[in-house]
């Protein structure tokens, strides 16, 4: 199994990320211990310069993380032939249930990395680097999670046995099943649509309001939590109705197939805008408590406005892409349920 080119790519990628992350942690610990912004010693100067290295490395790690998320899904799709009953990514993930853990871990790490970059960005905007210790402690906590993810990924691929009889999206995301996924698929399309559009409208409205009233603290926090809730609702909606409109089949609920060429790779802008929008909305909320730090006040204001705008833009793009086939496809899901 391990000799599949895609698996080799993923494992290599994870190794590189791990080396980079732990390298950053070592530098980070040095910074946590030795940092003193009031000194102009050679040691302090060298620490300051190391922060550039960590920033660069973490930017790369984030890039890797995004690519590896897609490559993982893609690879799982490519190896589905090996399993009886598997017809796509879902089947391959079911063949060794830790596959789902890997997928979720990759998504969570994506957001945690994104949040780190948010904090880092703010910190670099203040002359006294007020968050420097905090962000490296955060990083030190994040790295083991990445190691865990890499380990899970490896054991997923090592644990895959060809010929395992597995269930595919048609059964996992079917209306009859009893799993969480299948109950999502079984939700009446119209109910799910109401929830989705209500959540989308609410979240967009909150964010739009926050572009004007940047300092509205409570709303800011609600919009942050709201972004995560919206993320889950959006995923459920993709399974429940967006997918079937793109596939034009009432029973095909797979959230992965839309990444394929036969659907014009529409999954990439779809997930890209969703992940990006949610990250920016959440990032703006994470920035909120740092407003209390004097040297960060203007930076927080400035970045929150920028991120909120980006979040609104991306979420609107996501809504347009999800709604597109509902409006323009001849397929109708109503009356099925």
């Amino acid at each position: 199994m391990i000799f599949h080119p895609g698996v080799l790519g993923l494992v290599t990628g994870s190794l590189i990320v791990l080396v980079m992350a732990f390298f950053s942690v070592v530098l980070g610990i040095r910074i946590i211990i030795g940092w003193d912004i009031t000194k102009s010693t050679a040691g302090q100067l060298s620490l300051e310069r190391q922060t550039y290295l960590v920033s660069t490395v973490m930017n790369y790690v984030m890039g890797f993380q995004i690519l590896s998320l897609f490559l993982f899904v893609y690879t799982a799709d490519d190896i589905h032939q090996l399993f009886v009953g598997a017809m796509c990514t879902t089947g391959s993930l079911n063949a060794n249930p830790i596959g789902w853990t890997v997928l979720f871990a990759k998504i969570i790490i994506f957001f945690l990395c994104g949040i780190w970059l948010v904090i880092n960005k703010l910190d670099e905007m203040a002359e006294d680097y007020p968050l420097v210790r905090f962000k490296y402690k955060y990083l030190t906590a994040l790295a083991p999670l990445m190691a865990l993810e890499a380990y899970w990924q490896l054991s997923y691929f090592l644990g895959l046995k060809a010929n395992v009889i597995t269930s595919c999206c048609s059964s996992l995301f079917s209306d009859e099943g009893v799993t969480v996924a299948s109950s999502l698929a079984a939700l009446p399309v119209d109910v799910m649509m109401y929830i989705f559009y209500a959540a989308a409208a609410l979240e967009t409205a909150m964010l739009a309001l926050l572009i004007r009233k940047s300092a509205w603290r409570i709303l800011r926090y609600i919009s942050g939590v709201g972004a995560l809730v919206f993320f889950l609702i959006a995923l459920a909606s993709i399974i429940s109705f967006v997918s079937i409109y793109y596939y034009e089949t009432p029973v095909h609920h797979c959230p992965f197939d839309i990444l394929q060429g036969q659907y014009m790779f529409v999954g990439y802008p779809l997930y890209g805008s969703l992940f990006g929008g949610v990250l920016f909305a959440a990032g703006a909320a994470v920035a909120e408590p740092f407003r209390k730090i004097n040297s960060l006040k203007t930076a927080v204001d400035q970045m929150q406005r920028k991120w909120t705008k980006l979040a609104v833009l991306l979420i609107i793009i996501f809504i347009i892409i999800s709604t597109w086939p509902l409006v323009f496809s001849t397929f109708k899901a109503y009356g099925q349920n």
Binding site: G6, T12, Y52, Y60
Partner: protein
């Protein structure tokens, strides 16, 4: 944002000013990517070709077993098989291997039946009467025969046959037809001296694809000595074999990649005096460390992406226009008469993605620390 655009421009002009140094890195990197891509492209082409052929093959092939070995199967089984629920059409196949001592090659001899009409002929037709045959490209080449020529096969004094070639298979999908000789059923039975009422195996079509394994179980219960081979199993096995072959070669190739990374590291850390001076000037006139890092990032991106695409194009040409001449010997090896395989050109986003992961990302990772080292030089270094 405007600033970023200008830094990118500057990065490109810097690369252009140092053509030779950058060209050497790009050339080596392109070559490595070309080799790596060729491996992936070729294995993938083999794989898809084989799988495409298997797709048309019957759901189940039933073999008779005796003492754990493949035996001839009684044709009368078909009557019983047709009675099993879910079984569509069942038909006997007659075929065998023939070792030609003249050319030291193995041929596959197969009796013609109407299912074969799908196989594309380059020219001519399928054999219709005794003494006629259609042959694959490989056979025709190795025996140096063409249309209307005779081909003589012998298994000793009794079993001789002289066949007139009335059809030639086209080169496409040569993987299956290359070593093939198709002759009429009677000629084949006579040549192999097979007992009457026996066939080599039986192909079974199943009406509902999702019931294949149930049907196979029923068949096994009815004929305990038989072995049903499922198409899905075959597909999986082939899939695995090709991935495995490709992976092994890739793994061996990793040594080369690692060596290259050291080379990159060396090139990048060994920034010459002129470059060091230039970065010093940039820092002195007001470029910030992050700007220089950005510059270095774009230099690396330009080199690695252009090498990446050059490598991909080279591999594409190598595999699809020159039939992977330099690589095929490594990956083939299961038949003396290995098909002169001409892969169908294709572009697969997934493979490009994987290749990117295996080449560009390690390159980028290897260049982080050296670029940073260059970028943190003191702004006042040029004043000393």
């Amino acid at each position: 944002m405007r600033g970023h655009g200008r830094v990118i421009e500057y990065a490109l002009s810097t690369l252009a000013r140092r053509k030779f140094k950058n060209f050497s890195v790009a050339a080596v990197f392109s070559f490595l990517i070309a080799v790596l891509s060729s491996i992936l492209f070729l294995t993938h082409a083999y794989k898809t070709e084989t799988l495409k052929l298997l797709e048309d093959s019957p759901e189940i092939i039933l073999q008779n077993m005796s003492g754990g070995r493949h035996e001839l199967i009684p044709v009368e089984y078909i009557t019983t098989l047709s009675g099993i629920a879910g079984v569509g059409k069942a038909s006997p196949r007659y075929w065998g291997y023939y070792y030609d001592s003249l050319t030291s090659a193995n041929y596959t001899l197969m009796a013609y039946d109407e299912n074969m009409q799908d196989i594309k002929l380059l020219q001519g037709r399928m054999p219709a009467s005794e003494g006629e045959c259609a042959v694959g490209k490989g056979v025709a080449d190795i025996r140096q025969v063409g249309m209307k020529d005779d081909i003589f096969l012998t298994l000793g004094t009794e079993q001789n046959v002289t066949l007139k070639i009335v059809g030639l298979f086209s080169a496409n999908s040569a993987i299956l037809t290359n070593d093939l000789i198709i002759l009429t059923k009677d000629s084949l039975i006579k040549f192999f001296n097979m007992p009457a009422d026996m066939a080599t195996d039986i192909t079974i079509e199943v009406n509902n694809p999702s019931e294949v394994s149930t049907v196979a179980r029923k068949i096994r219960r009815t004929f305990p000595n038989s072995r049903p081979i499922l198409k899905n199993e075959l597909i999986r096995t082939y899939d695995n074999i090709f991935n495995w072959r490709g992976g092994i070669v890739l793994t061996m190739f990793f040594g080369a990649i690692a060596a290259f990374m050291i080379f990159v590291w060396d090139k990048a850390t060994g920034i010459n005096a002129e470059e060091r001076q230039e970065i010093g000037i940039l820092k002195a006139i007001g470029w910030e460390t992050a700007d220089v890092l950005y510059l270095k990032f774009w230099e690396g991106a330009a080199v690695s992406l252009s090498s990446f695409f050059t490598g991909l194009i080279l591999a594409y040409v190598h595999v699809f226009y020159f039939n992977a001449q330099f690589l095929a010997p490594v990956l083939k090896g299961w038949s003396v008469l290995f098909p002169k395989f001409e892969p169908m050109p294709y572009i697969d986003i997934y493979q490009i993605f994987v290749l990117f992961f295996l080449t560009v990302l390690p390159y980028v990772a290897a260049s982080v620390v050296p670029s940073w080292k260059a970028a943190i030089s003191d702004p006042d270094s040029v004043m000393r």
